[in-house]
Subunit: 157 residues, 2 copies
């Protein structure tokens, strides 16, 4: 590639969304989402809660809206108490406002845990997470929502 | 109020977020959300689907992700087929990016319908909806997610 083509490519990448490439803001949200999944899988309660803003809300199925750190902490505590919990999620799409201060990630989760009789319960589902850029440049969760893909009659968490 | 104070107030309202007042973008999303609730309650399938972008996704509980108009149409058709369906929702919070091209509404829904035996099933829950401003200035849904507040053991839609 000659130098002119190289400069043109760099300018193109820097200008904004390119099919197959992510903007810096999309990459930052992806990294924040992946880090959240890591600390959540490790059942690190403090770090899992601290990814959320103090006025964030988590919308969990079959539970009232959890608004604010205390309610979110209690919700996560219940989840982390599930015996032998294994949970992971991966974003499949990330979109960001032009001002790069608000965006969302959405994707799929999977989890397993043991029921009171020791049988493995498996769940798969989808989630949507709205991220807001903070004054220090960090992306934090302001609104998170998820639900199972499985029929209501199946064992659910 | 003298004219100077009046001008100052108008400038202040036009400048952006004010406690207790909504920006034009927040008002537009609120109006779009309320209009969506109206056409949905009227079981107007075409208009309910057309509020969503062609690449939107709706995350309904106990169902796979519905991506795109065809899948969303089928999901809404199932909901509209519930006997004597009555549904409403109201946004409690609306936030918008500084660039006013992406925002979200979140709030509570309530619905009732008749089960196969004719008994009334009641559900209450919460939702999060991400809105994206289109080139023509209209706000459309790109991502919607909702779930019941009620325990999984209760009758669910």
């Amino acid at each position: 590639m000659n130098r002119g083509a190289c400069v043109a490519l760099v300018l193109c990448l820097a200008a904004g969304p390119v099919v197959g490439a992510e903007t810096a803001a999309q990459q930052a949200i992806r990294a924040a989402d992946e880090e959240w999944a890591r600390v959540f899988a490790a059942r690190d309660l403090d770090r899992s809660v601290s990814v959320c803003t103090s006025d964030a809300a988590v919308l969990a199925p079959n539970a009232p809206r959890a608004s604010g750190h205390q309610a979110i902490r209690e919700l996560f505590q219940e989840t982390f108490a599930l015996p032998e919990l294994k949970i992971s999620w991966t974003p499949s799409e990330i979109r960001v406002a032009n001002s790069a201060d608000l965006g969302y990630s959405t994707g799929a989760y999977k989890m397993t845990f043991k029921d009171p009789k020791g049988a493995t319960v498996s769940d798969v589902g989808k989630y949507s997470t709205v991220w807001q850029k903070q004054h220090d440049g960090k992306w934090k969760v302001v609104l998170d929502s998820y639900s199972s893909d499985l029929p209501a009659s199946s064992p659910a968490p």
